[in-house]
Each structure stands twice: as structure tokens, then as C-alpha cells.
């Protein structure tokens, strides 16, 4: 026995086991806790997921290659950080999280194929993944058919709700309405010009924004224009802006198009410190490409900025930079992706099981007090209650917090009166 123990000291795993044994007397003083620490696999996993006595496997499914890689890399990094932190705290139900990363390659069918592979072959207990709405739409039927659980980080258009998805980003009304209210009140804005990329998220967001401007704020929309993804010519719309002189330019242009858009705005002599511009699609990640000097003064409306001043965020930002480098920036979606593994851990522990049905049922009401954005809670509809914030872009590429809602905003993926 002592011989065994001596040999064991050489390997870290054995050492951990020994430490565990040393801890046994301490734990026995709290008999309930010792059971809760590592319940039997057969009890916590009745549906054949990849759960062993020491490990549980989850999937990470984002684009590591292709046009979306630049946006999704932050999410991958945040999820890995969260998993590492959870493991350092002892894992989930006494099991370390192991992850399998798959590449969606910015290609929607590939996302569906990989999601299926993760669920059917790897039997992962949860998937952290997807970014664009298109990839989520492709993956959703797979999640529902094979009964998986997806933690989806991006702010998105709403009009969706599934037992098999937890939406950790904001849906459109959550993100947009508070921002519009604020700018209408603060700037006395009455006329709005909408510019978006041409796909479902900007179109739905602008539809909601238009209804709100017309019906609630009693203002008017003086223009609404869409450009294909990747478009780099915005001169005609900039001329229209000059002609119509809107109080607010409201934009949901995504990805690389942003770089051209803000540079051309500046070149056309539109000064963002005088002309109010409210964007719902530019985070710190995008500013990296746009350049702080081209966008300084613009307002962005979302739930998280890297510059947020709260204890959680003060711990999160250095931890993220320590793991992924000083130069990395953290945008709204990156933070939302970080919530995924944590919310899953909290839900599994509340449900006392890895079973998808039990997690889906236990999700509503889960609170995460350690969120970098502050406090979040899962709603009945599997979206998050969260605050909405408005920030102003600064020269150094960071946002300065200008306004935040007093209370958490209720997620409402099927908003009445906005459809």
C-alpha cells in the first residue's frame, strides 16, 4: 500500500487522488456535500451522453476558417477560457470538462454536419457554438432531432425559441428599443436613416426599429437601405444621408463592410461627433478593423463593453488577456459566449443531471452572478434577462459607457406589435 502511494506521488493524477483521500475526513463532516460532489454516472446520465466518472465532453462549434473566423475566434477563446476556469474550480458535478472543437468553416451546411457529428458520434453533453443566424438555422433542426443543447452567443433577430437552445446574446427588441428610447430622449431625435447588410438579422432588426420609431417615438424613417454582405461601396447611401439630413443614422452593417462604411463616412465629411450614429453591429472586435479614429463618437447599443466597470469584468478582462494575449479585445458576443459554459454548469448542477430534458426544464430561473456584464438570469423562453447599454466609441477603440437601463430587460423573441 505504501509502495503504491510512493509510486503514485510521481504522477499528478495520483497526487490529486491522494489529496482527495486526504480530504475525505474533512468531507465526511459534511456528509450531504460529499454525495453532491461526484454522484454516480448512471444517475446523472441516463441518455448515453459522453459522461464518465471523471470527465464530461462538450462540443465547440464555430468557424475557425473562412470569412466568419475573424468574428468567431473571440467566441472560441471565451468558451475555452470559461471551460478552463470551471475545471480549475473542480468541474461540473465533480467531472472535468473536455471539449471537442469542430470547424464550421463559415459554411452553413458544414455547421449542420458537424453538429450532427458532435451529437451522434461524440455524444456531447452540450454544444457551445454558432454565430450567424444562418448557421444557427442550419443547426437548429439537428439539435431538435437528436435532442442536443446549444448555447448560442450572438445577438440576433428573435422570432425563434427552442427547447434545445439557450440564447446567451440579446434578441432584437432587447437590444434595440432601449437604445432608440435613449437617443430619442437625449438627442431629441425624430428622423432616422436605416442602413443594413442584406440578410435576416438587419432586416428584422430594422423592422422592429421602424415600428418603434413610428408608433412609439412618433418619429419617421427617412430612408432604409440594404447592401449585400461584403459590400464596400457606400457612396450612394452617404449622398442620400447628406440630402435627407437625418437626426440619427441607425446601422446594422456587419463584418468587413463596416471598414469601408466608416472610412467613407469620414471621407465624405460626416463628423460623428455632430451627426448622431447608433450602431447595433459594431463591437470592439470590429473597431479593431475599422480603426478607432474612423468611428470615434459613434454610439453602439448592446449589453456589454470591455470597459464596463464592475468587479466581475475586472477579473474577466485580465484573465482573458492572460490566456489569449494583451492585444485581444473583447466584444459583446465574446462575453456572451463566455456565459455559455457557466450557465450550462449552473444548470447541470441545479438539475443534478446531464440529461438534456432535465437541463432544458431546469434552465428557466438560472442566475449567473459572475457574468462580466453583471447579473443575468435565464427566462422561461430560454433567452437571458440582461441590461442594455449605450456606449460611445473612443479613439483608442474602446467604448465609454454613456447609459444603461436601470433594470434587466425582459427578452421577448416574438414581440407583439413589432411583427
Amino acid at each position: 500500500m505504501s509502495d503504491e502511494a510512493n509510486k503514485g506521488l510521481l504522477s499528478p493524477l495520483r497526487r490529486k487522488l491522494l489529496m482527495g483521500m486526504a480530504a475525505v475526513p474533512a468531507i465526511t463532516m459534511l456528509p450531504r456535500a460529499s454525495f453532491a460532489q461526484a454522484p454516480a454516472t448512471s444517475a446523472v446520465n441516463t441518455t448515453g451522453l459522453a459522461v464518465t466518472d471523471t470527465e464530461v465532453t462538450v462540443g465547440i462549434l464555430h468557424s475557425a476558417t473562412g470569412t466568419m473566423a475573424i468574428s468567431e475566434t473571440g467566441s472560441i477563446e471565451a468558451e475555452k477560457l470559461a471551460i478552463e476556469q470551471i475545471n480549475a474550480m473542480g468541474g461540473v458535478l465533480g467531472r472535468k470538462i473536455k471539449f471537442i472543437q469542430e470547424d464550421g468553416a463559415s459554411d452553413w451546411p458544414t455547421f449542420a454536419e458537424k453538429a450532427k457529428k458532435l451529437l451522434v458520434n461524440d455524444k456531447v453533453a452540450a454544444i457551445m457554438g454558432c454565430w450567424t443566424s444562418a448557421s444557427r438555422k442550419a443547426v437548429l433542426p439537428v439539435m431538435e432531432q437528436y435532442n442536443g443543447m446549444l448555447y448560442y452567443p450572438t445577438f440576433y433577430e428573435g422570432l425563434e425559441q427552442s427547447k434545445n437552445v439557450i440564447y446567451t446574446g440579446q434578441e432584437a427588441t432587447q437590444q434595440i428599443l432601449a437604445g432608440l428610447n435613449w437617443i430619442a430622449k437625449e438627442k431629441g431625435a425624430k428622423s432616422f436613416f436605416f442602413i443594413g447588410s442584406d440578410y435576416i438579422w438587419p432586416r428584422t432588426s430594422n423592422k422592429i426599429a421602424r415600428k418603434h420609431v413610428e408608433n412609439v417615438l412618433k418619429g419617421k424613417v427617412v430612408g432604409e437601405e440594404y447592401y449585400p454582405l461584403g459590400n464596400t461601396q457606400f457612396n450612394s447611401v452617404i449622398n442620400k444621408i447628406k440630402l435627407t439630413k437625418p437626426d440619427v443614422i441607425f446601422t446594422d452593417v456587419v463584418g468587413g463592410s463596416n471598414v469601408a462604411f466608416y472610412k467613407q463616412l469620414k471621407a465624405a465629411g460626416i463628423d460623428l461627433s455632430k451627426q448622431a450614429l447608433l450602431t447595433i453591429s459594431v463591437t470592439e472586435d470590429e473597431i479593431d478593423g475599422i480603426g478607432g479614429e474612423n468611428i470615434a463618437g459613434a454610439y453602439a447599443c448592446m449589453k456589454y463593453f470591455q470597459s464596463l466597470d464592475n468587479p466581475n469584468n475586472k477579473a474577466f478582462v485580465p484573465a482573458f488577456k492572460k490566456m489569449w494575449g494583451e492585444k485581444t479585445v473583447i466584444g459583446d458576443v465574446t462575453q456572451a459566449a463566455y456565459l455559455g459554459p457557466w450557465l450550462w454548469k449552473l444548470t447541470v448542477e441545479k438539475a443534478g443531471s446531464f440529461d438534456i430534458d432535465k437541463i432544458a426544464a431546469a434552465s428557466p430561473g438560472i442566475e449567473f452572478k459572475g457574468a462580466p456584464e453583471g447579473y443575468v438570469r435565464i427566462h422561461e423562453n430560454h433567452h437571458l434577462w440582461s441590461k442594455t447599454r449605450v456606449g460611445r466609441a473612443k479613439l483608442d477603440g474602446q467604448f465609454e459607457l454613456i447609459y444603461e437601463t436601470a433594470d434587466l430587460v425582459e427578452p421577448d423573441p416574438f414581440p407583439k406589435g413589432y411583427q
Partner: protein, 380 residues
């Protein structure tokens, strides 16, 4: 057997038997349903590759727009499936129940006219063949009658692919835009999603593929096939001999389009959705690459090319999520540099002679040697 021997020469017969054994017996027995469904997805590209062998390998017409026909076939099928999935009951959460979900998101309140006929399966099946066929006929007539060929034709097909993608993405209320048509569920009430349905769909697809192989082989063996080859080698001589070169080219192009469309329709059934990412320039070029890797002169080579390249894509991306694209690129460069005739050239140069030696007591046939010298392959 006698007919078979005439229909296929010995090496083709071997190729036929091997492919049939692998697709009908070995793969279904050795793979789980998930992997089998992936093979079904790869095979949808084999249809395209088969069309490219006829049109590019034999006819010498390089089309960089096969994604267009793959997409048209796929979208026709997807429209039918989407309508069936959008019953009033399934879509009661929408502001207008009974229309596809993406129309509802785009504030369309009634089903557009051109969607109406896709309630009928018969119409859909006809449309899968006729829409791409007629479209290819129009493009082909416009191009070949004016003697546009070679590089210019390739560029124009590529432009068509770009145009169709922009059209689909732009008209998202009618087409589903960049998201495509997702969540396809049933075919005439038969659920296409469970495992047993996947297995049945796989076999249906393999049978269809062999039917198409039969058609392609038949075309090859007729006078038509020989004229195609003659046209590829010396277009003017064929023209001076009194043949209407344009008509033969149009025919080959239309056949390739119809094969691609059948592949597209099977894709929608097997994968359960369709999106513009299969229509554009990149997928169209990928389709040419499969064919080149497999060997554009060989029906079986091209099919293996489509299967193996896609298999490599899946397995490389599973093992090396961040590096796999480089690996795939290197593979293409290596194959094209070292074996210009693709895998089938490799087979013909190295494997076939040994097999022949086994079968005949005579010395290895000089024909194979000649081939390998002509291809510039290194000596053994």
C-alpha cells in the same frame, strides 16, 4: 454478361463492379447511419462530376458554373419539401400561418405565384429535370451558336453562378436569402429525418447514380460520344465534316446540367436543406476540382474523386479544425502536379498493368506504357 462486356471494356467492368460493391454492400454494412448519410452527401457531388466528365472530359467544354444547376435542382426539391413542412399547423406561431417561415419574416403575406405549383410532387420532379435543362439550353444556345467557347465560356458560366447567388440572396422573401431553406421534414408525409429514412434515401440515391452512369456510358459508346471526343480534339475538322458542332455542345452541356440537378435534388433530400452556398463560384470550382482529382476522362475516376475529396474534407476538418484547408489545398496541388490525369490516371498507369499481367500470360500491353509516357508520368 456478354452485354456487359460489350457495354464496358474489361477495366471499366472492373470499375463498375468495385464501385457497385463498395456502394451497395461494403459501405452500408460497415458505416453507421451518420457516416452513411455523409457518403450520401458526397455522392450528390458525384452526379455533378459525372456530368462534368461528359461535358468537360469528353466534350472539352469547361463549365465553372455547375453549382447553378446543382442549386436549381436542389431549390426545386427544397421548395416542395418546404411547402410541405409549412403546413398551417406547423406554422401557427407566424403572423401568416401556412407559408414558409422566411416569407413570414420578410413580411410576405401570401404564397407567391411561382411557388404554387410546387405543392405537386409530379410537377417538382419534372421541374428538377426541366428547369436546369431549359436554362442550360438557353445559355448553351446563346453561347455555342455564336461560337463562344473555351475560356470565354468558362468565364460566362462563372458569371452566371455569381448572378444566381446574388439573386437568391437578394430576394430573401422568396428564396430564404443567405440562410437558405432549412428545416425540411417530410416527403408526401414520409419523414426524411430518422435513421431508417436516411438509409432508404441512400439506396435510392445509389440506384439513381448507377442509372446516370448507365446513361453516360451509353452516350460515350454511341457515335455521339465519339463526335464529342473528336470535337474536343479538333473542333474545326468536325465542323468541316458537316456536323453542327454547336448542337453537340449544347447537348453535352444540357446533360451535365441535368445530372447536376439530380444531384442537387438528392442533396436537399439527404441533407435536409438547401442554401446559396452551393450555387456560387466557390462550390462550382470545387466541383471541377473533384472531377480533376478523380480524372476527368473517366466516369468512375470522377465519381471516386467526388467521394474521396469530400471524405478528405470531412476527416481533415475533424482532425485539424484550424489547418485543414491548407492540407486540402496541398492535396489538390500535389494531385494535379504529379498526376495530371487524376486518380484514374494513376490507376491506369500503375495498378491496371499489374492486374493485366495477372490475367494474361503475355507481356504487359504496350498500350498502357504508351499512355504513361504520353502523360508525362515518371517511369517506375
Amino acid at each position: 454478361m456478354v452485354i456487359n462486356l460489350r457495354f464496358f471494356n474489361r477495366s471499366e467492368l472492373m470499375g463498375f463492379i468495385v464501385l457497385a460493391a463498395v456502394l451497395f454492400v461494403i459501405l452500408p454494412l460497415s458505416l453507421d447511419v451518420f457516416r452513411l448519410n455523409l457518403v450520401a452527401k458526397y455522392l450528390t457531388y458525384a452526379f455533378v462530376a459525372l456530368g462534368l466528365v461528359l461535358c468537360w472530359g469528353y466534350g472539352g467544354i469547361l463549365s465553372l458554373g455547375q453549382g447553378v444547376f446543382f442549386g436549381l435542382g436542389g431549390y426545386c426539391m427544397a421548395m416542395f419539401l418546404k411547402l410541405e413542412a409549412s403546413s398551417v399547423e406547423n406554422t401557427k406561431i407566424q403572423s401568416t400561418p401556412g407559408i414558409p417561415d422566411f416569407m413570414d419574416w420578410n413580411q410576405i403575406t401570401s404564397l407567391p405565384l411561382f411557388w404554387q405549383p410546387f405543392h405537386s410532387l409530379t410537377f417538382t420532379i419534372l421541374a428538377i429535370i426541366l428547369v436546369p435543362g431549359i436554362f442550360a439550353l438557353i445559355i448553351g444556345t446563346a453561347m455555342f451558336k455564336r461560337r463562344v467557347g473555351g475560356t470565354y465560356f468558362a468565364i460566362i458560366t462563372q458569371a452566371v453562378a455569381a448572378i444566381l447567388t446574388i439573386l437568391i440572396v437578394g430576394q430573401q422573401g422568396y428564396t430564404g436569402g443567405i440562410n437558405g431553406m432549412t428545416d425540411l421534414r417530410t416527403l408526401k408525409g414520409w419523414d426524411i429525418r430518422p435513421d431508417h429514412a436516411k438509409v432508404i434515401l441512400y439506396f435510392v440515391e445509389v440506384v439513381l447514380l448507377f442509372a446516370c452512369i448507365g446513361i453516360a456510358q451509353f452516350i460515350r459508346l454511341t457515335k455521339l460520344g465519339r463526335i464529342l471526343v473528336a470535337m474536343r480534339e479538333q473542333e474545326d475538322r468536325v465542323r468541316f465534316s458537316g456536323y453542327s458542332v454547336a448542337n453537340f455542345k449544347i447537348f453535352a452541356f444540357c446533360m451535365a446540367a441535368v445530372f447536376a440537378a439530380i444531384g442537387g435534388a438528392m442533396f436537399a433530400l439527404n441533407v435536409g436543406f438547401m442554401s446559396p452556398s452551393f450555387v456560387g463560384i466557390v462550390p462550382s470550382i470545387e466541383m471541377v476540382i473533384y472531377t480533376a482529382v478523380g480524372g476527368r476522362m473517366s466516369i468512375f475516376g470522377a465519381i471516386w474523386g467526388a467521394i474521396l475529396v469530400n471524405f478528405a474534407k470531412t476527416s481533415l476538418s475533424e482532425s485539424f479544425p484550424q489547418l485543414w484547408l491548407f492540407g486540402l489545398g496541398a492535396l489538390f496541388i500535389a494531385v494535379v502536379l504529379a498526376f495530371p490525369n487524376g486518380l484514374s490516371g494513376l490507376w491506369a498507369d500503375y495498378v491496371q498493368p499489374r492486374i493485366d499481367r495477372l490475367f494474361t500470360s503475355r507481356k504487359s500491353k504496350s498500350a498502357w506504357k504508351d499512355n504513361s509516357v504520353a502523360d508525362g508520368a515518371p517511369a517506375e
